[in-house]
Symmetry: C2
């Protein structure tokens, strides 16, 4: 199946206890498609400014990512900068410059509107709906969102939730969206809104998926050193959607495998700065870590 | 193998968002032996006052717990009272009355000194050492501890850690003991002190065991409603040690199974107030939930 990913393309400046990088290639659609590229030929829909580096384009093309949906607009690319706390569990945003992303209005190219799989990155619910209306043959749609939309665009967000197959959010977002502190209760409440699969990311504690009646818990890969947590969630989504595309299925068993592939990819990305950890991967390395995940939970 | 459990015996008054109970049977040795009693005939070493209810004794005897090490001293039984926050993740202690527990000096009865398995509940490291010196044929010793001893009796605590096979602590204690925020790094640091198996409990996020080079991650059982989290950690230890006693082994595979049995027992105890959830259990119910744990993580 064919996968389309809609989201941000950014230049990130990041400081963690292990170092500092300026103007790295980033953004939700970038992390997601780079992770997915190890499973399928992902199609990226996003917008950049005239300052977007040519070598970033080359890097994405080298991973066989379809960039026909990547627009270049007059102005500057979306920029974000953040600094992480010593334990990496908190981060402070130093600045967010939306630039060309402020007026992002995704147009899905004619020849990719028939893609069966869609990942709606963290953009406004109105734009997410707009994307869905352009698609002609979706079989499985997953969405991300954030506190800003949960608070500020709740009605539209609920409308999107009713149209998608899965929502992939973090624990604090799940609590905020559902009003329930208990994560199982939160997942059940979100299912009741109308979204059958709820995947809650818990950072170092792994993730938790409720797919109709099927509950699945996956660990995070134990790492003594995390270099840069930026993009881990979008990378997770990319591994998850990429596996579904490759497998051509979204049955509960494939969804469980997809959660582990998502976790595998997230474990690689946080081991290096930015997207570096996604570039030199091989099928063998991915397969080996997948096996390690199985060993981690076997009894 | 034979299991001896040393720790507190208490009367707890607890308030959670779901109700309030006064003077319930509690204490680390009680939760631990009651959980273990579903796997083996556990031996309890502790102290109570003259006010300790006869029906509590009967309840423990009915579960075939050996009480030859339970002393009755003049005075009152240890009492604790606490109130839990709405999300159950925090609790405030209303009072702690040590009473006869203040001068607890565990004497291991002659005929149980040969027990192969020992669980040292959360008592002072000096008393934990004292217990170990009385034992004559230990094969596997696990210990608990708490922030109070990590801060206040660090040298003695390290001496105990070097003599035991496993330490079972929660995530904040692991971080405090090791000085490391990362839990894998924390576990490795505690192993370096001299304790080969480190088991870190993470509440709703399950637990994490490092046994020499073997890493194992177990989920918590997803529950929409937790009635009373009191004693969950000691119950976990009881299921863990009980399974080792029944299996007659502490190899890495058996330790993994033990972690799941510990998690199973903890999931039952939090579903009701106090020890209630441990009383009406059957082997079939335990076995069924064990299978559910396997299904929860399978892919």
């Amino acid at each position: 199946m064919s996968l389309i990913v809609v989201g941000s393309v950014a230049l990130d400046s990041v400081e963690t206890p292990l170092g500092k990088r300026d103007d790295m290639l980033g953004g939700s659609a970038v992390y997601c498609t780079l992770a997915a590229s190890h499973f399928t030929n992902a199609k990226l829909v996003g917008v950049v400014g005239e300052d977007f580096p040519e070598k970033a384009i080359e890097l994405l093309r080298a991973r066989k990512i379809d960039l026909s949906g990547l627009e270049t607009k007059p102005g500057k690319t979306f920029r974000w900068s953040g600094v992480y706390s010593d334990d990496m569990n908190e981060r402070e945003t130093l600045y967010t410059e939306l630039n060309v992303f402020e007026d992002f209005n995704p147009t899905i190219p004619e020849d990719v509107r028939a893609a069966e799989l869609v990942f709606l990155g963290n953009i406004s619910p109105a734009l997410q709906l707009n994307v869905l209306e352009q698609m002609t043959g979706t079989q499985f749609v997953a969405m991300d969102t954030m506190n800003f939309w949960i608070d500020g665009a709740r009605d539209e967000l609920i409308e999107v939730l009713r149209k998608v197959d899965a929502v992939i959010i973090n624990d604090s977002e799940a609590r905020q969206l559902s009003g329930s502190a208990n994560l199982l209760a939160a997942a059940r409440a979100i299912q009741k809104i109308g979204c059958p699969t709820v995947l809650i990311k818990k950072g170092e504690h792994g993730c938790f998926q409720v797919c109709r009646d099927d509950c699945f818990v996956a660990p995070a890969y134990p790492l003594e050193t995390v270099v840069d947590p930026t993009g881990a969630g979008d990378t997770f989504a990319g591994g998850f959607m990429g596996h579904l595309a490759r497998a051509g299925s979204s049955d509960p068993r494939t969804l469980r495998e997809a959660v582990i592939y998502g976790s595998v990819m997230a474990s690689f990305v946080v081991e290096q700065f930015g997207v570096e950890g996604l570039l030199e991967l091989t099928d063998a390395k991915i397969g080996q870590r997948y096996t390690e995940f199985r060993n981690l939970v076997s009894f």
